[in-house]
Amino acid sequence: MNRRNFLRNSALTAAGVVAAPYILPTGRLFAASGSRLANHVVFCMFSGGVRILESVQKAEGNLMRGMLNGTEAISSDIGQGLTLFSPPNNQPVQNYGTLFKQFRFSDGPTGHFNGHTTAITGQNTDYNLSLRASPTFPTIFEYYRKHNSPAKSAINSWWISHSNNLYPILNYSSYDGYGPDYGANQLSPTNLFNWNVRDEFSNMISINATEQDFVKKASEFMNKTYKGGGLNVNSGIKNNSEDAAVIQAFMDQMFQQNYAGMHSDPWGTGYMNGDMYNVFFAEEVLKTIKPELLVVNMFGVDTAHSNFTDYCHKLHQADYAVAHLWKTIQSTPGLQNDTVLIVAPEIGRNSTPNSIIDQNGRGALDHTSDNAMAREMFCLVAGPSGVIQQNKVVDTLYGKSIDIVPTIAHILGFWPDIQGMVPGSPLYEAF
């Protein structure tokens, strides 16, 4: 959708809302006009570029037994050196929802950041997408915070990114009327809660309530008497003081766990890679803070650019991480049976290999925009029965990346408020 259409549709939507306002107890004038299907959504971006051949089509056997039904034997060469994890749930996650096997990244360059941006904003991108600036259209975090009633604080909205480089900027956009006031709490936990940097952040002076009162009064006085600057000191996301204290306490807890060695093998699998750790920390946020919206990504499968066998191994590990995430959701009071989990890659990979051959003679895989398979993906929507259709498979062409934002909006009850602002629509086949 281009900017002109977006502006026109925004104005029409706003006019429609203005036509029937009412005052809420919170004082908020405009209410979300839809009703919720669940109170929590977790969107796991199975990203790094996943081909449907190795995933839902099981060309190398079922590498994803945590998510997908089937006991197809893994190819012998791929299976060598692969640590097989036993799925953590009684059934694959597929049985708890609807699997779309012919999902598409339909428009825009098939780059990782393009794919992430499309999934998080619900808008297609082009070659002008900046890798240095916030998205130009609102993200799902901003839509959620602004168009929900009562208005949501940042602690309810999280973006757990695998990297502290580039991807953090997807927590809010530069769009007028949205921006950091409605952005997500962004965290790259594997870059923070580790032995290398923990000493710099985990030994703070403590401040009791009396001291906190002194600090508040003194700093308020200083800020009032300071006449210089005029710039917005906190131009990014900022939590209020109560929420900041909760997040600081969460960080304290993570550092303490790290020092105590509790992060060495928290899932008891004997081995955890970066993807699994990123999901682990997302689970800790879910268990501790119980946000209504959390987006977490993975990236390990991008090793496919240079090693096909390792790509398959990473696919298996990422699958386990998703299955463990579902297990955590369903065993956490407050989230159990009240959370929808959406899983989708951001892009696919090429049908033809590049020239790099791995130890098993397999060709590596890139993801170029001129290759149709680089746009073919899957999407899984899992959730409570009565909300999400259980054990359903849609094996016809249905759904696009731009439909994920509308789907989240539909679940959390604000789809009518943003309909017309995004080109996609909810994945109604899952409901």
Partner: protein, 163 residues
């Protein structure tokens, strides 16, 4: 013709000499006075990297090492709420054993001087009387205030973000 020219030049020179008059020049001397704006004329926002580096230098009296700075940057870029992570960094700095900070006795012995030193250290300016009065009163009224806490307050206030 030549005589007329010489005569003309001679008359011009003579007239010029007689037309010059001594001009009375009024001179005003100024005493040397140091003129400093109350806000120290700070209007440039420090980048977060500059902020961390300056905070370290202010507290430890030396430049931060590249290794430590890289670790701080790694953690800093991992959190979206920058005020939250900078708060952690400052509080961590203040808890280091090598931080250069007056003792409790030094602060309590002359609170006015301590406050003035804080303004010079962190804001590169002298405080006005109201600022000294207010902060001294607040320290007196609040039990258990330590120099670390006062330093922390100065470092999280808005003015410290500017230079």
């Amino acid at each position: 013709m030549k005589k007329a020219f010489i005569l003309y030049i001679g008359l011009a020179l003579t007239g010029g000499m007689w037309s010059c008059t001594k001009e009375n020049i009024n001179r005003y001397n100024l005493s040397n006075v140091a003129v400093v704006k109350p806000t120290g004329a700070k209007g440039t926002l420090k980048t977060d990297l500059e902020f961390i580096s300056v905070a370290y230098a202010d507290l430890f009296g030396t430049q931060i090492s590249t290794d430590q700075l890289n670790k701080l940057i790694a953690g800093y870029t991992s959190v979206g709420d920058k005020s939250l992570i900078i708060d952690r960094i400052i509080r961590n700095f203040l808890n280091e054993p090598t931080v250069q900070i007056p003792t409790q006795q030094q602060m309590m012995a002359d609170k006015k001087e301590f406050i003035k030193d804080c303004y010079k250290k962190f804001y590169v300016r002298d405080p006005d009387e109201m600022e000294i009065f207010y902060l001294e009163k607040l320290i007196n009224e609040t039990q258990g205030i330590t120099p670390k806490l006062v330093y922390y307050t100065f470092m999280i206030a808005e003015e410290y973000r500017y230079y």
